[in-house]
């Protein structure tokens, strides 16, 4: 019973949270493509220790 009541709210909250995270990741990917000209992880090498 508890599972049935709270599942929709949990799922909705999760959708909202993940939408925010995914949009930010997408924005970062767009910026990376602008700066590096590629999205190949091997080519993103501006940071070296």
């Amino acid at each position: 019973m508890t599972v049935a009541v709270t599942t929709p709210y949990t799922a909705l909250t999760d959708v909202v949270v993940e939408a925010a995270v995914t949009s930010l990741l997408l924005a970062l990917a767009v910026q990376a493509h602008k700066r590096f000209g590629t999205l190949d992880p091997q080519e993103l090498a501006s940071l070296k220790g």
Binding site: T2, A32, G49
Partner: protein
């Protein structure tokens, strides 16, 4: 407890929204914007300090919307204020206040969204510390993460921040998904999301393989947030490129919150009912020791000051994990009692490079790394005013049920971790020495680097009156 606990997260969130909405009104009056954001962060600090004083006599639970549990079944979301959770939230708020004060001079020009993100970050950290619901913990984890990713990429016109933020965001998002999978499994098995209710269910039913897998998934996500080897590499990348006031929060409190979540979930939700405690203890201790050693090694070989500090943070996180593992549940707040010391010593270390040349490699004061490396005294020697945990099982709404129906010996787990592996326990001592030696050596090596500024700076020599300066006739 009135509504003060709710205000701790609603005030910064509302202020962040208001700052964003009223951003065009501020225009060139940046001082007003800074003053408002600092005032909000300071007010949250004061509220948390008041709550900390109030909860000195006992833990408090606040149910949002008045949705209290009925017959042991929780539908609403609660905040549980104990000495440790409130203290950590207060430390986070204090660090945000000081970081924003520092950023007043750090940034020549600052956009409105910087203040918005810092206040959202603060709300995420405070909610993460205080929540008593495991799914709510995931939501605060993500809110904290989103703000941190955006703050890392605060200068999107440069390549480094984009790459660091991308590594940070992807790694932590994978951790969040792992935690979410574990939460889904535990929710399907127990039908509950409240940590106390899950704990009571697991105490009453023999945990099976599904519960064990859920535990591993949830803990994996928090291990990534805690920068424990082999999930540590994101911290150095993010730390090296983030603005210095943000680095203060990363090293000062965000990484430690991952370790806090590990201890809380283990003792509050799974506890001794999970079984395999000796194996779990060994794994955590090995991870902690490995993290301390690897972090110290990378700290020694690093030449970029901010990355060096990041590896020092990783090394300390390993020591904290080993300390948490070696202690009993009633004594585990001892390692977190060293976190304020580390946070306050890390703060000037991080700010020194930034105040000179906004984070480039060679402008901090030599010696500060050594101070950071030796700031944490042995965790087990520090007292803590109260045993703070596990708070959920002692909450007023669940303690009666838990104590009345739990089998003897299942909730009383004192001494179990400390006695499980004396040989491994002793391995933490040389590990601590190794970590301190590597950090000290790295600071010494940096000081001897050609071109490194001397500290304290030499005073200019006084002019010699007897020198052969030609006098005017």
């Amino acid at each position: 407890m009135d509504h003060l606990l709710a205000l701790v997260v609603t005030v910064p969130l509302i202020a962040a929204a208001a700052i964003t909405a009223a951003g065009p009104l501020f225009g060139t009056r940046r001082q007003v914007l800074d003053a408002v954001a600092i005032a909000v962060a300071a007010s949250v600090t004061v509220m948390l300090a008041v709550i900390m004083v109030r909860t000195a006599g006992g833990d408090e639970v606040y149910w949002f919307g008045g949705f209290r549990p009925v017959r042991g079944v929780a539908i609403g979301i609660d905040f549980e204020a104990g000495s440790l959770s409130t203290g950590l939230a207060c430390l986070a708020a204090l660090l945000v206040t000081t970081a924003m004060t520092f950023s007043w001079r750090y940034f020549e020009r600052v956009a409105t969204h910087y203040h918005t993100l810092m206040l959202t970050f603060l709300a995420g950290m405070a909610g993460f510390c205080l929540t008593g619901d495991v799914f709510d913990m995931f939501v605060w984890f993500e809110l904290m993460g989103v703000s941190a990713y955006a703050l890392t990429a605060y200068r999107p016109e440069e390549r480094g921040p984009i790459q660091g933020a991308l590594a940070f965001a992807i790694t932590n998002s994978v951790g969040a998904y792992l935690s979410l999978s574990g939460i889904g499994l535990i929710y399907g098995r127990t039908g509950a999301l409240n940590m106390a209710q899950i704990g009571v269910y697991i105490d009453h039913h023999r945990p099976d393989g599904l519960v064990t897998v859920a535990f591993l998934l949830i803990i994996s996500g928090f291990l990534i947030k805690g920068a424990i080897v082999p999930f540590h590499f994101w911290l150095a990348d993010a730390h090296a490129v983030a603005p210095t006031p943000v680095c203060v929060l990363f090293s000062g409190v965000m990484v430690e919150l991952g370790l806090y979540a590990i201890a809380r979930v283990y003792w509050s939700v799974f506890g001794q009912a999970l079984g395999h405690r000796a194996a779990i203890s060994h794994v955590f201790l090995a991870l902690g020791v490995l993290t301390a050693v690897v972090g110290a090694l990378f700290c020694f070989r690093e030449r970029h000051v901010k990355r060096l500090l990041a590896f020092s943070t990783i090394s300390h996180a390993g020591m904290f994990l080993a300390g948490i593992t070696l202690l009993t549940p009633s004594a585990w707040p001892a390692p977190p009692s060293t976190w304020p010391a580390m946070a306050w010593l890390r703060r000037p270390c991080s700010c020194a490079p930034g105040s000179c040349c906004t984070g480039s490699a060679r402008s901090t004061r030599p010696g500060c790394t050594a101070a950071a490396a030796t700031c944490a005294p042995p965790a087990w020697s520090l007292p803590w005013p109260r045993s703070g945990w596990p708070i959920s099982r002692r909450s007023p709404l669940f303690s009666a049920r838990a104590s009345s129906t739990t089998a003897p010996g299942r909730t009383d787990c004192r001494g179990s971790w400390a006695c499980s592996s004396p040989a491994l326990s002793w391995s933490a001592a040389p590990c601590s020495g190794w970590q301190g030696a590597c950090s000290k050596a790295s600071a010494t090596r940096l000081r001897r680097t050609p071109g490194w500024p001397r500290w304290p700076p030499r005073r200019p020599a006084k002019p010699n009156r007897t020198s052969s300066i030609p006098r005017s006739p």
